[in-house]
């Protein structure tokens, strides 16, 4: 077990290094060069100045040299400065990550509470009207573009009904007159629509998955044995059926968390929610490479670690799976 985890951790580290190099290289292929832009804005800037500036900043070096310099700085804890915010990257990224964690964490919990009971319920009433109806909703949920669902929620609840704010993270300039309870309430008002968007999509796929796994499990011989032994139906369903059906569901839930983290990029962008995903998007558009690199790498690391947790959990819960 320990060897399995160690091997997977090493793989994750190697993958992160490769990924960071690939994205470092790709950032260089993006349109717009901050120095060129700065030079064009300044009438006194000659091509010689530009070359000198690039030399001073080490930008004339080949890409791998620059990458290892960047990596060295990163290892020493120096994530660099943001060009647009004029702040160290750590100061920007930290709060953004916390915001994303709120958003995906709450969505994850909400999806769990709703999806698994619904999945079990529909599997027990297979082919009933309610099963068909929920199945239709589940299909709609896995097929709907998340950004469009977000827009529809905004049109309905923010524009037409005017119940909730259309976008943002918190009321700007409201800090002074609010106590901590009001602040929390304010944050929640801004979280409702993004959380709904993310949860609806996750719930749809989890309901389908739980239902399928539950149906599959209930066809096993040990369920027939349990029934033959004369166990009560509820004991057969919950003790023998659900417990076994939940094993693969646990993996999907752990994977779902990483999915929520990466899916949050679009939701955060539509709702202008100040999370890490929106930071990646904004910094790429603003040529703010330090921020883009760091937020992308940190997000990827979170996602990969959750994938690792999923694998370990799966192997731990199901004795039939070997670690090799």
């Amino acid at each position: 077990m320990a060897a399995f985890i160690a091997r997977r951790l090493i793989q994750t580290v190697i993958l992160i290094l490769l990924l960071s190099f690939a994205s470092y290289w790709m950032m260089g292929l993006m349109p717009g060069d901050p120095l060129d832009v700065a030079c064009q804005a300044n009438p006194h800037c000659t091509p010689e100045n530009l070359e000198q500036m690039k030399k001073n900043l080490g930008l004339d070096q080949p890409i791998h040299v620059r990458y290892f310099q960047w990596l060295g700085d990163l290892m020493r804890g120096d994530l660099g400065y943001s060009r647009t915010y004029r702040l160290p990257v750590t100061e920007i990224l930290g709060p953004r990550l916390v915001n994303t964690l709120y958003l995906s964490g709450i969505s994850l919990l909400l999806s769990l509470i709703i999806a698994i009971p619904l999945g079990v319920y529909t599997s027990l009433r297979q082919n009933s009207k309610i099963d068909y109806t929920l199945n239709m909703f589940a299909f709609a949920g896995i097929s709907v573009p998340s950004f469009w669902l977000a827009l529809m929620l905004i049109i309905t609840f923010a524009v037409k009904l005017n119940w909730l704010p259309a976008s943002g993270t918190e009321t700007i300039g409201g800090d002074g007159m609010m106590n901590s309870f009001e602040i929390a309430l304010d944050r929640i008002r801004y979280l409702i629509l993004p959380v709904t968007t993310l949860s609806l999509l996750t719930i749809a796929s989890w309901v389908r998955y739980t239902r399928a796994k539950m149906l599959e499990t209930m066809r096993n011989d040990y369920i027939r044995t349990a029934r033959a032994k004369g166990l009560s139906e509820s004991r057969v369903i919950y003790r023998h059926g659900l417990r076994n059906a939940l094993i693969p569901v646990v993996t999907v839930v752990a994977l779902g968390f990483s999915g929520l983290f990466s899916g949050a990029v679009i939701t955060e962008t539509v709702f202008a929610y100040q999370g890490a995903g929106k930071l990646i998007f904004d910094s790429i558009f603003a040529n703010d490479y330090n921020v883009a690199m760091c937020s992308f790498i940190v997000t990827s690391l979170c996602v990969m670690l959750m994938n690792l947790v999923a694998d370990v959990l799966y192997a731990y819960l199901d004795p039939r799976i070997s670690y090799h």
Partner: protein, 323 residues
């Protein structure tokens, strides 16, 4: 056969019965069985009709636009956000272009991108999966490491980064005409990140069937590895792949729409369902209907592909066939 005497093989062992045992379905081929099964899946049939309709619309886009006499890229600044009328069936957008005709051309672009991506990525997936599964060893390890690594990446952030690359700085893409470059780029970007599921699927199937007798027979008859993969293995894994292509088209439509919505996909003036929603955030107050329709089409077509995939899965899975 009326006789009780069974034909004997040269070794005196009764030969296998030539005709299959009398079965009510004996006259039906596997294909007919599958079609029959699919027809029982009501939503899949409806979906197939919907998909055919959209494909026809996409193919006939020029015809429809010509008969209406409207150019999808013609702007009319004096008629911004025009209402629904006899001339502009679904009104006009923020620069006065006809929404209905743009939707039709958007259908063409979105479907084309999705089909090309799904088919191309399936080919990559089959190639990788079959090579890894058949040869095993180092080939398998390397290819599967690559597959797993790509699967572990956070899809949306990485798509955003790759899609933001300036095509002019990529050696091959700078030769494509400016008009189509965003389409070609979009196809490449989505293709690179959507073959992995197919590869794993094909590898699993190949591992299961490569020990079968007919593969051994092919080997002893002198076929080499490539011939066995092409003639024996791939035809036998195609069934599960069909399902995943169908589902793949659905997800490609969603990814294309999301990236185009973010402004990183298909570039205007070429319409796609995603980029028609590009400025939707600004118009939710002034013209919310413009934000509703393209998304509704994306939802309908993606749902159709998902239902069809579901139906095909039931129909093509021999274990699920109800006799």
């Amino acid at each position: 056969m009326s006789t009780t005497e069974k034909p004997l093989s040269p070794h005196g062992i009764p030969a296998a019965q030539e005709t299959p045992p009398a079965d009510i379905h004996a006259h039906k081929s596997m294909f007919q069985l599958a079609i029959g099964q699919l027809m029982e899946h009501r939503m899949a049939v409806v979906s197939l009709v919907v998909i055919c309709f959209f494909v026809l619309v996409a193919l006939g886009a020029n015809l429809i636009a010509n008969s209406l006499g409207i150019d999808p890229e013609a702007q009319d600044i004096l008629n911004r956000y025009g209402p629904w009328s006899a001339e502009h069936w679904l009104g006009t957008d923020e620069v006065g272009r006809d929404v209905f005709v743009r939707l039709i051309f958007g259908t063409r672009i979105s479907l084309m991108v999705a089909f090309v991506v799904a088919i191309a990525s399936t080919m990559i997936g089959i190639a990788v999966g079959a090579l890894a599964g058949y040869y095993g060893g180092v080939v398998d390890m390397l290819l599967m490491r690559l597959t797993d690594s790509l699967l572990a990446l956070p899809t949306i952030p990485i798509l955003i980064i790759v899609a933001s690359i300036d095509p002019a700085r990529v050696p091959f893409l700078d030769t494509v005409s400016a008009e189509n470059v965003s389409i070609v780029k979009m196809i490449f970007v989505l293709m690179i990140f959507s073959w992995m599921v197919q590869a794993r699927l094909v590898r699993g199937e190949v591992l299961a069937i490569k020990e079968q007798e007919y593969v051994l027979a092919a080997k002893t008859s002198g076929m080499n590895g490539m011939q066995i993969i092409l003639k024996e293995l791939i035809p036998n894994v195609i069934t599960p792949v069909i399902v995943s292509v169908t589902l793949g088209i659905g997800s490609s439509i969603l990814f294309e729409a999301a990236l185009s919505f973010l402004g990183l996909g298909i570039q205007p003036p070429t319409p796609s369902w995603g980029n028609m929603l590009n400025n939707a955030q600004e118009i939710v107050y002034s013209a919310p209907l413009l934000a509703v329709i393209p998304g509704l089409l994306i939802l309908i077509i993606t749902m159709s592909f998902n239902f069809l995939g579901d139906g095909l899965q039931d129909a093509l899975d021999p274990k699920a066939i109800r006799r």
